[in-house]
Every structure is written in C-alpha cells, then in structure tokens.
C-alpha cells in the first residue's frame, strides 16, 4: 500500500491541467481518500508505472509529490476519523 499526496500549483492554466492529469492518473491506481490524497494498493511493477507517469506530469519547480510506503501491514498504520470513510480494498466488497 502506497499513500500518494500531491500539491499542484494552479496559478496558471498549465497548472490546472496538470492537476487534472495527476488526479486522473491517481484515480486509476487507487482510492481517493481526501482531495489530493490517494491510497493505492499496488504491486511493485504497478507502482513503478504510477510513479513514472506522475513524475513526468508535474512541474518540479512549482509542484510537489510525496509517496508514503505503508507496506503489507498498512491496516495497522491507518486510522480514520470523521466523514468519508473509505473501503478496504482487501476486505469484503459487497455492493
């Protein structure tokens, strides 16, 4: 499990389009838990792809991107309070 967070500067039009792109790519790989925070359950190969494409998208002068590696026991490392409770991608998925 990897936590991806980003800050994309939206002062210019280019920034807005970068923000959309980054968000879209993150949605492809994981669950949006807060506005610019994603929990991605990925294997090493998928993570390499995600990291590569995100790093190419951002403007290193203005934007920032952070990856937190939560590992296999991520469930012990995450606590949630308040609204917008997410789902557990390894738990029971019945809709």
């Amino acid at each position: 499990m990897v936590l991806v967070t980003y800050d994309v500067s939206t002062e210019s039009d280019g920034g807005k389009s970068r923000l959309r792109k980054v968000a879209k790519e993150c949605v492809n790989y994981g669950q949006r838990v807060q506005n610019s925070v994603f929990e991605c359950l990925v294997d090493p190969a998928q993570f390499a792809q995600l990291k590569h494409s995100l790093c190419n998208m951002i403007d290193e002068e203005k934007d920032s991107l952070r990856f937190y590696y939560l590992g296999k026991n991520w469930k012990n490392r995450v606590e949630h309070f308040g609204a917008k409770k997410g789902y557990d991608p390894e738990g029971l998925l019945v809709m």
Partner: protein, 343 residues
Amino acid sequence: MKKLLNTLYVTTPESYLLREGENVVIKINNVEKFRIPIHNLEGIVCFGYMGASPQLMRLCTDNNVGLSFLTPHGKFLGRVHGRIRGNVLLRRTQYRKADNEEESLDLARCFIIGKIVNCRTVLGRSIRDHGDVIDLDKIRFIDSLLIENLQSIDSCLNSDSLRGIEGNCARFYFGVLDELILKQKDDFFITQRNRRPPLDNMNALLSFLYTLLAHDVESALETVGLDPYVGFFHTDRPGRPSLALDMMEELRPFMADRLALNMVNLRQICGKDFFRKENGGVIMTDDGRKEILAAWQKRKQDKITHPYLNEKISVGLLPYVQAMLLARYLRGDIDGYPPFFMN
C-alpha cells in the same frame, strides 16, 4: 506465487457497472455509489439484471478479471471472457488427453481420489473434534465404505465404473453429513443432496457455495490457459464447464462443505436467512446471501501450506494452484497430477 486479489460482489439489482479510466464504477440510478481500480480485483460477480457496459467488459477481459452474472439466488447465467489465453499447444495436449480414454481415466481417478480422501477428512475432523456428541459408529461405518471404494478405484477399468464409485461415495457422504450438523438441527438438516431446486436450507447453502467455487475454478483454469469446457471425468456437453467441474470435485469438501458446516455450527447463518418458494425450492434472503459471501471471502484469505508445493498460500488460490499443477502435468513437467489433499 500469484497474489490473491479481491472479488467484487454486486448484489443490488439496480446497480449498473461501467468503466471510467481504469476504474470499475457502480452506479445506481445514475448516481455513483462505488469505484475501485480494476487491478485490485480478481473477479466480479453480479447478482441481478441491470448489467454492465461493454466498455467495462473490455476492461475486465483486458485485465483477465472474470465477470460472471448470476440470478439473485445464485443460479449461474453466464460469464464474459475475452480472448483465449495461454498456449495453443497446451490446449491441444489437453484435447488429445481428453480424447484418449486411458489417459483421461488416469486423470479422472486423481480427481475422484482427491474428492473421497477430502470427504474422509471432513468426517475425520468431526470424529476428532466432536466425537462425544455424534453417532460415531455410523460415521465410522460410512468411512469404512469410503475406504473400500477408494481402494477399488485403482482397479476400475472404465469411466462408467469410476462414475459408479463416485456416485456411491457421494451418496454415502451426503447421507452422513447430517450427523456433522451439531447446532440449529431444526433449520439445517440433510438427508441427501438435491438441487435445481435445492429442497432444504443445507442444500441451498451448499449449492450457493458450489456456484461461487465454480466461478473461481473456471477463472483459474482460464488463467493458466486451459479450456474449462473440455473435461476428463465429466463428458463434453454444450455449455458445461466439464474441466471446472472435474477440478471442483477435489476442492468441494475443503472449500465448500467444511465452510457450510462451520457456518451452521457457529451460527453464522440461521433458518431466517432462507425461505421456501411455492414450488418447494429453497432460496436465501438478501441478508443470507451477504452472510455467505462474507464467510466465503474470509475463508479464502485463510493461509494454508500446500501439501505438494510446500508453500504458504491463501485458500482462495487453491483453484489456481491446482490448475497450474494440471497444466504442468499436461505439459509433461511432472509425471502425474497431484490432487489436493487437505490435512
């Protein structure tokens, strides 16, 4: 080893599945209810009729995610599968072996031996754990009959006599399964196996678990590149996944029967979760179905040591591992197909 991914069960009949990017999105009345990346999934099982968009089907086939459609009560309707995967040479070998009577009999023997041995383990486990409350003599007697039949498998000369042995064993086994139901005796009992429709709660529970297992086994066979429709024990019939049924024989007692007994004995499911229709068939309620799915998913995450590979795997990967071993046997990498024996 492959990692066991999750299965998404869609039980709300109004839900419609569609694709957005790499996500599976569930909408109810055009409102988004759920979204998950496809790479977290192993399969999608839909109980209901709203369906899925062709784009989503493509996403599933591209990612080798099984997409099955069932009626709300678990009757299999169909599944979407994309281009045939794997190696044409492997499939040809499979067909050749299936055409060859002697070789299919050899394989069929393995499946049935696996099944009977695992049935015996189910009985043995109950003797060990609950020997003081169950009718030991009856179970021991049935067990001895199973052993007798097991010994006659080696000497049976054609598939019809093997079918006979299998049928006898199944009858003995289901005849005594009732003894292993320790709690909720008024609601759960089984005198014989019946289906289409199941006539009592226990049969309904078993039927539903078998459907879930069939979904997994069929996907597993496709993943390793085998044709689930060409079997060795079950004969070809249009629309019948014979090889999946073959492989299920050895997995049923461990993956389904044991779970069904546990659910009843631990009161994870109760008589209220089922109801009888006018035609006498028994089906489960929405809550009952949810309970069973939860127990099934949880069971699949339990870890066991595979006796042949000597490697730690999740129970849910068993169909895949057995399919892989069968493929290895067909390729000639191993001398015989090792059925799964639970311990």
